[in-house]
């Protein structure tokens, strides 16, 4: 009888019990999924992006379904850091969940202040830096598309945060490897990618855009091939760990990302479709490892065979 495979992975010094995380913005503050998922069993819960002040978000319609995916322009609605720390974090702490907090700001000062506030909380495992949200006019996307600014914001946050900093990358750039290297040089412990692809949907009958924001972020299985390609590219361009995100619905999807070079993965839109997706993916990875007689999930990382 073989031992149960070892699922632990190391994200820049942070040891996670397994490589299955939730993607920010698709898992609320975790408590929304408590009826469906044992949150403490996940590698980490990455919560909805938090800003210094609460944000109301964009006017509706905010979401629209597209072929094998969806577009969203939520506008980073969140409760703000004060309410997050007072009301949301204690719940996750009580469940024993590993918590990664996604943060977003419009200025370097805001990012710094958020890093400082969260740094005071010993039980936040890591900070994920959102510099790539396509749905807000200021901040986010500019930091995410200019390597100098990406490096500057990474440095600023790393200096103030006590936790490892994960830089979440936008696919809406000419060469994602350039931004990944900038984040690495700025001190990021890891990069996570991809955020949503900028897209649009139009209603031919009314001749109007389907989103009030006109454009939004495309997610879901439709973007998986793009995400896989970018993870594969970035994994060979940087030395820090890569967290793969983009259209992961099943354990097989997750394993493909590990083979492409990801050390861990985040499950996003699939949480909406199947609230139990994360735990099902975790179980699927475990049985894949057993079936292939592998001792550790780490054996899969970057294990892509050189040619077809």
């Amino acid at each position: 009888m073989m031992n149960s495979p070892d699922l632990k992975v190391n994200i820049g010094g942070l040891i996670l019990k397994n490589p299955v995380l939730t993607a920010s913005g698709t898992f609320g503050y975790g408590e929304e999924f408590a009826p469906f998922v044992n949150l403490h069993r996940l590698g980490a819960v990455v919560v909805k992006g938090i800003s210094l002040a609460p944000r109301a978000g964009n006017p509706p319609p905010r979401i629209v379904e597209t072929a094998c995916g969806m577009l969203n322009a939520i506008g980073l609605e969140n409760v703000g850091v004060d309410r997050f720390l007072a009301e949301k974090l204690p719940y996750l702490r009580g469940l024993g969940a590993t918590v990664i907090v996604n943060i977003l700001g419009e200025t370097l000062d805001e990012y710094r202040e958020l890093a400082r506030r969260l740094g005071e909380e010993g039980d936040i495992a890591a900070i994920e830096l959102n510099i790539s949200c396509p749905n807000v006019k200021k901040g986010g996307v500019a930091f995410g598309s200019d390597p100098k600014m990406a490096r500057a914001v990474t440095e600023a946050v790393c200096r103030h945060a006590r936790q490892p900093v994960i830089m979440k990358l936008s696919p809406n750039v000419t060469d994602i490897r350039v931004i990944a290297r900038a984040a690495e040089e700025g001190g990021a412990a890891a990069v996570s990618l991809i955020n949503t692809l900028l897209g649009m949907a139009i209603d031919a009958e009314t001749r109007r855009p389907k989103l009030a924001n006109l454009v939004g972020g495309l997610s879901g299985p439709a973007i998986k091939p793009v995400a896989l390609r970018m993870v594969w590219q970035v994994a060979s361009a940087v030395k820090i760990p890569v967290i793969g995100i983009g259209g992961i619905v099943t354990a097989v999807d997750a394993i493909e990302f590990l083979l492409a070079g990801a050390t861990a993965i985040e499950v996003g839109t699939a949480n909406f479709v199947n609230p139990k997706a994360t735990e099902e993916i975790l179980a699927g990875i475990r049985s894949y490892l057993e079936r292939h007689k592998m001792q550790s999930a780490r054996e899969l990382i970057g294990a892509l065979a050189p040619d077809a």
Binding site: F33, A56, R62, I63, C68, N72, I74, V273, N274
Partner: protein, 264 residues
């Protein structure tokens, strides 16, 4: 929000009540047992399919003690088209019961006014109200035409309560909007009226306005695009009265006090 489940539900019956109106009977004991009038479920038809990907919200038409749950729906697109082709024995995936339902207080008199498929949660509500001997609900139903109305109205009529009818084309009942019947129904001052409504947005707006002018308490059940139904995607935002931020239909609603909503 603890009593929520994600469950496989077996199709027991799939009926076509009119050209494009169908009713699905599902066996889903955990959700059926906890469901209250006005709550909804998120339904996924084929668990392995990626298109359509997103679940669809459906308000609950009724539940039975045997763990059955019914959904009344109109075939409008790809997803509901596939639903209409379901057969007994097929399995679907349900998340529910979700959202805030109708506040039930049996002291006032109740007027239930529904347009089209908006009748669905009102039927569930009517059956609950009638459990109380003092309840005297009045129902007003509107539909496009007689065929659609006949798919909806008979079950209400069988409850033995007054049912007012309207059709857009005049083929049965009042020729015009069902809201035209509301003013004359809210008579008698010995008990205050509480109005419950579900249907197309312009109808709900008209109901809300009339109730506001007449100082009648009014709750409406609203529908928006939503991806998760459990408060995570934040896609179902609805401007709050006074344009003071947003309500979320999945959690704050789908049943909301009419005065909470910024009507456009």
């Amino acid at each position: 929000m603890a009593d929520q489940y994600q469950s496989k539900a077996k199709v027991l019956k799939s009926e076509r009540l009119a050209t494009d109106v169908c009713r699905l009977t599902l066996l889903c004991p955990d959700i059926a047992k906890k469901a209250r009038p006005g709550q909804f479920v998120m339904l996924r038809i084929a668990p392995a399919a990626l298109d359509p990907l997103i679940r669809r919200p459906f308000s609950i038409y009724q539940t039975t003690a045997g763990g059955q749950l019914q959904i009344l729906y109109k075939v409008v697109g790809k997803g509901t088209g596939i639903m209409a082709g379901l057969h007994p024995g097929d399995m679907v995936d349900l998340v529910g019961p979700l959202g805030t339902g109708f506040p039930i207080d049996v002291r006032p008199r109740h007027c239930l006014i529904g347009g089209g498929m908006g009748a669905a949660p009102l039927f569930f509500l009517a059956t609950w109200l009638l459990r109380h001997p003092d309840a005297e609900p009045v129902v007003l139903l509107g539909a496009r035409n007689r065929e659609e109305l006949r798919a909806i109205a008979p079950e209400f009529e069988n409850l033995g309560i007054p049912v007012g009818l309207a059709t857009d084309d005049g083929s049965e009942g009042h020729h015009g909007y069902v809201v035209d019947l509301l003013a004359d129904s809210l008579t008698g001052e010995e008990r205050p009226w509480h109005v419950f409504s579900c249907g197309p947005y312009p109808m709900l707006r008209a109901v809300a306005k009339l109730c506001h002018l007449r100082s009648r308490r009014c709750h409406v059940s609203l529908e928006t695009m939503m991806a998760c139904g459990i408060g995570a995607c934040l896609g179902c935002a609805l401007p709050r009265a006074g344009l003071n931020g947003y309500l979320h239909v999945c959690r704050d609603g789908p049943v909301l006090e009419a005065g909470q909503v910024a009507w456009f």
